[in-house]
Symmetry: C2
Subunit: 149 residues, 2 copies
Protein backbone atom coordinates (compact mmCIF):
# COMPACT_ATOMS: atom_id res chain seq x y z
CA UNK A 1 0.00 0.00 0.00
CA UNK A 2 2.91 2.34 0.71
CA UNK A 3 4.05 1.81 -2.85
CA UNK A 4 0.67 2.87 -4.19
CA UNK A 5 0.69 6.06 -2.14
CA UNK A 6 4.22 6.85 -3.21
CA UNK A 7 3.41 6.27 -6.87
CA UNK A 8 0.33 8.44 -6.76
CA UNK A 9 2.37 11.27 -5.26
CA UNK A 10 5.04 10.81 -7.91
CA UNK A 11 2.55 10.90 -10.75
CA UNK A 12 0.86 14.00 -9.43
CA UNK A 13 4.22 15.69 -9.24
CA UNK A 14 5.49 14.49 -12.60
CA UNK A 15 2.48 14.71 -14.88
CA UNK A 16 -0.07 16.51 -12.77
CA UNK A 17 -2.61 13.72 -12.33
CA UNK A 18 -2.65 10.10 -11.22
CA UNK A 19 -4.47 7.63 -13.45
CA UNK A 20 -5.16 3.98 -12.67
CA UNK A 21 -3.29 2.93 -15.79
CA UNK A 22 -0.14 4.87 -14.91
CA UNK A 23 -0.09 3.71 -11.32
CA UNK A 24 -0.24 0.15 -12.57
CA UNK A 25 2.45 0.74 -15.14
CA UNK A 26 4.88 2.13 -12.58
CA UNK A 27 4.20 -0.64 -10.08
CA UNK A 28 4.06 -3.43 -12.64
CA UNK A 29 0.58 -4.53 -11.73
CA UNK A 30 -2.62 -4.62 -13.75
CA UNK A 31 -5.51 -2.22 -13.48
CA UNK A 32 -7.72 -4.44 -11.30
CA UNK A 33 -4.95 -4.62 -8.70
CA UNK A 34 -4.73 -0.85 -8.65
CA UNK A 35 -8.47 -0.65 -8.29
CA UNK A 36 -8.51 -3.02 -5.37
CA UNK A 37 -5.72 -1.07 -3.67
CA UNK A 38 -7.51 2.23 -4.22
CA UNK A 39 -10.61 0.87 -2.53
CA UNK A 40 -8.57 -0.08 0.51
CA UNK A 41 -6.73 3.24 0.60
CA UNK A 42 -10.00 5.03 0.14
CA UNK A 43 -11.50 3.21 3.12
CA UNK A 44 -8.42 4.17 5.13
CA UNK A 45 -9.04 7.79 4.24
CA UNK A 46 -5.78 8.13 2.36
CA UNK A 47 -6.95 8.65 -1.19
CA UNK A 48 -9.89 10.20 -2.92
CA UNK A 49 -11.15 8.32 -5.93
CA UNK A 50 -14.45 8.50 -7.73
CA UNK A 51 -15.42 6.11 -10.48
CA UNK A 52 -13.64 6.79 -13.74
CA UNK A 53 -11.94 9.84 -12.26
CA UNK A 54 -8.39 10.72 -11.40
CA UNK A 55 -6.90 9.59 -8.14
CA UNK A 56 -6.00 12.11 -5.50
CA UNK A 57 -4.42 11.98 -2.07
CA UNK A 58 -6.14 13.21 1.06
CA UNK A 59 -4.08 15.37 3.40
CA UNK A 60 -3.32 12.32 5.48
CA UNK A 61 -2.39 10.33 2.38
CA UNK A 62 -0.20 13.13 1.06
CA UNK A 63 1.63 13.30 4.37
CA UNK A 64 2.22 9.57 4.40
CA UNK A 65 3.34 9.57 0.77
CA UNK A 66 5.83 12.35 1.41
CA UNK A 67 7.19 10.49 4.39
CA UNK A 68 7.74 7.39 2.29
CA UNK A 69 9.33 9.39 -0.50
CA UNK A 70 11.72 10.90 2.02
CA UNK A 71 12.69 7.44 3.19
CA UNK A 72 13.24 6.38 -0.35
CA UNK A 73 15.29 9.44 -1.12
CA UNK A 74 17.49 9.12 1.93
CA UNK A 75 18.24 5.48 1.19
CA UNK A 76 19.13 6.23 -2.42
CA UNK A 77 21.44 9.01 -1.29
CA UNK A 78 23.06 6.82 1.31
CA UNK A 79 23.55 3.91 -1.05
CA UNK A 80 24.90 5.97 -3.93
CA UNK A 81 27.03 8.53 -2.14
CA UNK A 82 28.35 6.57 0.83
CA UNK A 83 28.46 3.01 -0.43
CA UNK A 84 28.81 3.96 -4.10
CA UNK A 85 26.17 1.47 -5.18
CA UNK A 86 25.28 1.86 -8.83
CA UNK A 87 22.17 4.01 -9.29
CA UNK A 88 19.98 1.29 -10.70
CA UNK A 89 20.65 -1.16 -7.85
CA UNK A 90 20.43 1.65 -5.30
CA UNK A 91 17.01 2.55 -6.62
CA UNK A 92 15.80 -1.05 -6.40
CA UNK A 93 17.22 -1.61 -2.93
CA UNK A 94 15.79 1.66 -1.68
CA UNK A 95 12.35 0.65 -2.95
CA UNK A 96 12.47 -2.38 -0.69
CA UNK A 97 14.40 -0.99 2.26
CA UNK A 98 12.23 2.11 2.60
CA UNK A 99 9.42 -0.04 3.97
CA UNK A 100 11.60 -1.84 6.47
CA UNK A 101 12.92 1.15 8.39
CA UNK A 102 11.58 2.30 11.74
CA UNK A 103 11.01 5.99 12.31
CA UNK A 104 14.02 6.10 14.56
CA UNK A 105 16.30 4.61 11.92
CA UNK A 106 14.90 6.94 9.29
CA UNK A 107 15.65 9.97 11.48
CA UNK A 108 19.19 8.84 12.12
CA UNK A 109 19.87 8.06 8.48
CA UNK A 110 18.67 11.56 7.69
CA UNK A 111 21.00 13.08 10.25
CA UNK A 112 23.82 11.01 8.92
CA UNK A 113 23.35 12.22 5.37
CA UNK A 114 23.00 15.80 6.59
CA UNK A 115 26.27 15.36 8.43
CA UNK A 116 28.02 14.05 5.36
CA UNK A 117 26.50 16.41 2.83
CA UNK A 118 27.16 19.58 4.78
CA UNK A 119 30.79 18.75 5.34
CA UNK A 120 32.48 22.14 5.32
CA UNK A 121 35.90 20.98 4.23
CA UNK A 122 35.34 19.89 0.69
CA UNK A 123 32.76 18.13 -1.34
CA UNK A 124 33.60 14.70 -0.03
CA UNK A 125 34.76 14.32 3.56
CA UNK A 126 38.26 13.02 4.13
CA UNK A 127 37.11 9.95 5.96
CA UNK A 128 34.83 9.03 3.06
CA UNK A 129 37.70 9.45 0.66
CA UNK A 130 39.61 7.09 2.92
CA UNK A 131 36.76 4.65 2.69
CA UNK A 132 36.80 4.94 -1.11
CA UNK A 133 40.49 4.11 -0.99
CA UNK A 134 39.82 1.16 1.31
CA UNK A 135 37.20 -0.18 -1.10
CA UNK A 136 39.51 0.20 -4.04
CA UNK A 137 42.70 -1.18 -2.54
CA UNK A 138 41.70 -3.06 0.60
CA UNK A 139 44.27 -0.92 2.40
CA UNK A 140 44.06 2.15 4.60
CA UNK A 141 45.79 5.36 3.92
CA UNK A 142 46.78 7.80 6.69
CA UNK A 143 47.57 5.12 9.14
CA UNK A 144 50.28 7.09 10.87
CA UNK A 145 49.51 8.94 14.05
CA UNK A 146 47.74 12.24 13.95
CA UNK A 147 46.62 14.47 16.73
CA UNK A 148 43.49 16.17 15.49
CA UNK A 149 40.49 15.39 17.59
Amino acid sequence: MEDYLETIATLKKEIGVARVKDIGRLLNVKNPSVNAALNVLSDLGLVFHERYGYVDLTDKGEELAQNIKKRHDIMVRFLTTILKIDPKTAEEDACRMEHAMSDETFEKFTKFMEFVETCPKKERPIWLQNFDFYIKTGKRQNCTKREDK
Copy 2:
Protein backbone atom coordinates in the same frame (compact mmCIF):
# COMPACT_ATOMS: atom_id res chain seq x y z
CA MET B 1 11.34 -18.55 3.65
CA GLU B 2 14.60 -16.79 4.42
CA ASP B 3 13.38 -16.36 7.98
CA TYR B 4 12.79 -20.07 8.31
CA LEU B 5 16.27 -20.90 7.10
CA GLU B 6 17.81 -18.34 9.40
CA THR B 7 15.87 -19.62 12.38
CA ILE B 8 16.82 -23.22 11.72
CA ALA B 9 20.49 -22.24 11.58
CA THR B 10 20.13 -20.26 14.80
CA LEU B 11 18.49 -23.15 16.62
CA LYS B 12 21.11 -25.62 15.49
CA LYS B 13 23.78 -23.29 16.75
CA GLU B 14 22.08 -22.40 20.02
CA ILE B 15 20.56 -25.66 21.18
CA GLY B 16 21.99 -28.20 18.78
CA VAL B 17 18.81 -29.21 16.97
CA ALA B 18 15.91 -27.53 15.18
CA ARG B 19 12.40 -28.64 16.14
CA VAL B 20 9.17 -27.59 14.46
CA LYS B 21 7.88 -26.20 17.73
CA ASP B 22 10.93 -24.01 18.36
CA ILE B 23 11.03 -22.70 14.81
CA GLY B 24 7.42 -21.67 15.20
CA ARG B 25 8.03 -20.10 18.57
CA LEU B 26 10.87 -17.92 17.27
CA LEU B 27 8.96 -16.84 14.19
CA ASN B 28 5.60 -16.41 15.94
CA VAL B 29 3.78 -18.85 13.72
CA LYS B 30 1.99 -22.10 14.51
CA ASN B 31 3.29 -25.58 13.85
CA PRO B 32 1.29 -26.14 10.65
CA SER B 33 2.83 -23.06 9.11
CA VAL B 34 6.28 -24.37 9.93
CA ASN B 35 5.37 -27.69 8.41
CA ALA B 36 4.16 -26.12 5.20
CA ALA B 37 7.33 -24.05 4.96
CA LEU B 38 9.51 -27.09 5.56
CA ASN B 39 7.82 -28.90 2.70
CA VAL B 40 8.58 -26.03 0.37
CA LEU B 41 12.17 -25.72 1.57
CA SER B 42 12.53 -29.45 1.28
CA ASP B 43 11.36 -29.36 -2.33
CA LEU B 44 13.86 -26.57 -2.97
CA GLY B 45 16.60 -28.79 -1.62
CA LEU B 46 17.39 -26.46 1.25
CA VAL B 47 16.35 -28.53 4.26
CA PHE B 48 16.21 -32.15 5.19
CA HIS B 49 13.18 -33.15 7.19
CA GLU B 50 11.71 -36.54 7.82
CA ARG B 51 8.41 -37.05 9.56
CA TYR B 52 8.56 -36.43 13.31
CA GLY B 53 12.28 -35.87 13.09
CA TYR B 54 14.53 -32.90 13.63
CA VAL B 55 15.02 -30.41 10.85
CA ASP B 56 18.40 -30.06 9.24
CA LEU B 57 19.88 -27.84 6.57
CA THR B 58 21.37 -29.16 3.37
CA ASP B 59 24.71 -27.71 2.33
CA LYS B 60 22.92 -25.32 0.02
CA GLY B 61 20.48 -24.39 2.79
CA GLU B 62 23.26 -23.88 5.27
CA GLU B 63 25.07 -21.60 2.88
CA LEU B 64 21.96 -19.54 2.27
CA ALA B 65 21.18 -19.36 5.99
CA GLN B 66 24.68 -18.17 6.79
CA ASN B 67 24.44 -15.54 4.11
CA ILE B 68 21.20 -14.25 5.59
CA LYS B 69 22.62 -14.28 9.10
CA LYS B 70 25.57 -12.24 7.87
CA ARG B 71 23.21 -9.69 6.37
CA HIS B 72 21.34 -9.53 9.61
CA ASP B 73 24.49 -9.15 11.61
CA ILE B 74 25.93 -6.43 9.42
CA MET B 75 22.73 -4.41 9.61
CA VAL B 76 22.55 -4.71 13.38
CA ARG B 77 26.15 -3.61 13.65
CA PHE B 78 25.62 -0.69 11.32
CA LEU B 79 22.45 0.46 13.04
CA THR B 80 23.81 0.18 16.56
CA THR B 81 27.39 1.35 16.13
CA ILE B 82 27.04 3.98 13.41
CA LEU B 83 23.53 5.31 13.85
CA LYS B 84 23.32 4.44 17.56
CA ILE B 85 19.86 2.93 17.18
CA ASP B 86 18.75 1.20 20.35
CA PRO B 87 19.45 -2.54 20.23
CA LYS B 88 15.83 -3.64 20.24
CA THR B 89 14.81 -1.43 17.33
CA ALA B 90 18.02 -2.25 15.48
CA GLU B 91 17.23 -5.92 15.80
CA GLU B 92 13.70 -5.44 14.46
CA ASP B 93 14.80 -3.24 11.59
CA ALA B 94 17.61 -5.61 10.67
CA CYS B 95 15.13 -8.49 10.52
CA ARG B 96 13.23 -6.64 7.83
CA MET B 97 16.07 -4.90 6.02
CA GLU B 98 18.16 -8.04 5.68
CA HIS B 99 15.75 -9.33 3.05
CA ALA B 100 15.70 -6.12 1.06
CA MET B 101 19.42 -5.78 0.36
CA SER B 102 21.04 -6.74 -2.94
CA ASP B 103 24.29 -8.68 -2.89
CA GLU B 104 26.13 -5.57 -3.97
CA THR B 105 24.74 -3.50 -1.12
CA PHE B 106 25.50 -6.26 1.36
CA GLU B 107 29.12 -6.41 0.21
CA LYS B 108 29.55 -2.67 0.51
CA PHE B 109 27.92 -2.53 3.94
CA THR B 110 30.34 -5.22 5.01
CA LYS B 111 33.31 -3.25 3.71
CA PHE B 112 32.01 -0.17 5.42
CA MET B 113 31.79 -1.85 8.79
CA GLU B 114 35.21 -3.39 8.30
CA PHE B 115 36.53 0.06 7.55
CA VAL B 116 34.99 1.51 10.70
CA GLU B 117 35.75 -1.37 13.03
CA THR B 118 39.39 -1.71 12.11
CA CYS B 119 40.11 1.97 12.57
CA PRO B 120 43.67 2.03 13.82
CA LYS B 121 43.47 5.30 15.69
CA LYS B 122 41.16 4.56 18.54
CA GLU B 123 38.08 2.57 19.25
CA ARG B 124 35.75 5.02 17.57
CA PRO B 125 36.96 6.97 14.56
CA ILE B 126 37.19 10.74 14.87
CA TRP B 127 34.67 11.38 12.17
CA LEU B 128 32.16 9.15 13.94
CA GLN B 129 32.74 11.01 17.16
CA ASN B 130 32.04 14.16 15.19
CA PHE B 131 28.83 12.60 13.98
CA ASP B 132 27.88 11.72 17.55
CA PHE B 133 28.45 15.34 18.46
CA TYR B 134 26.35 16.48 15.52
CA ILE B 135 23.51 14.23 16.60
CA LYS B 136 23.70 15.47 20.14
CA THR B 137 24.04 19.18 19.48
CA GLY B 138 23.06 19.73 15.87
CA LYS B 139 26.40 21.49 15.47
CA ARG B 140 29.75 20.49 14.03
CA GLN B 141 32.96 20.51 15.89
CA ASN B 142 36.35 20.93 14.20
CA CYS B 143 35.03 23.25 11.58
CA THR B 144 38.21 25.23 11.26
CA LYS B 145 40.69 24.43 8.55
CA ARG B 146 42.98 21.52 8.91
CA GLU B 147 45.47 20.10 6.55
CA ASP B 148 45.49 16.38 7.18
CA LYS B 149 44.36 14.45 4.17
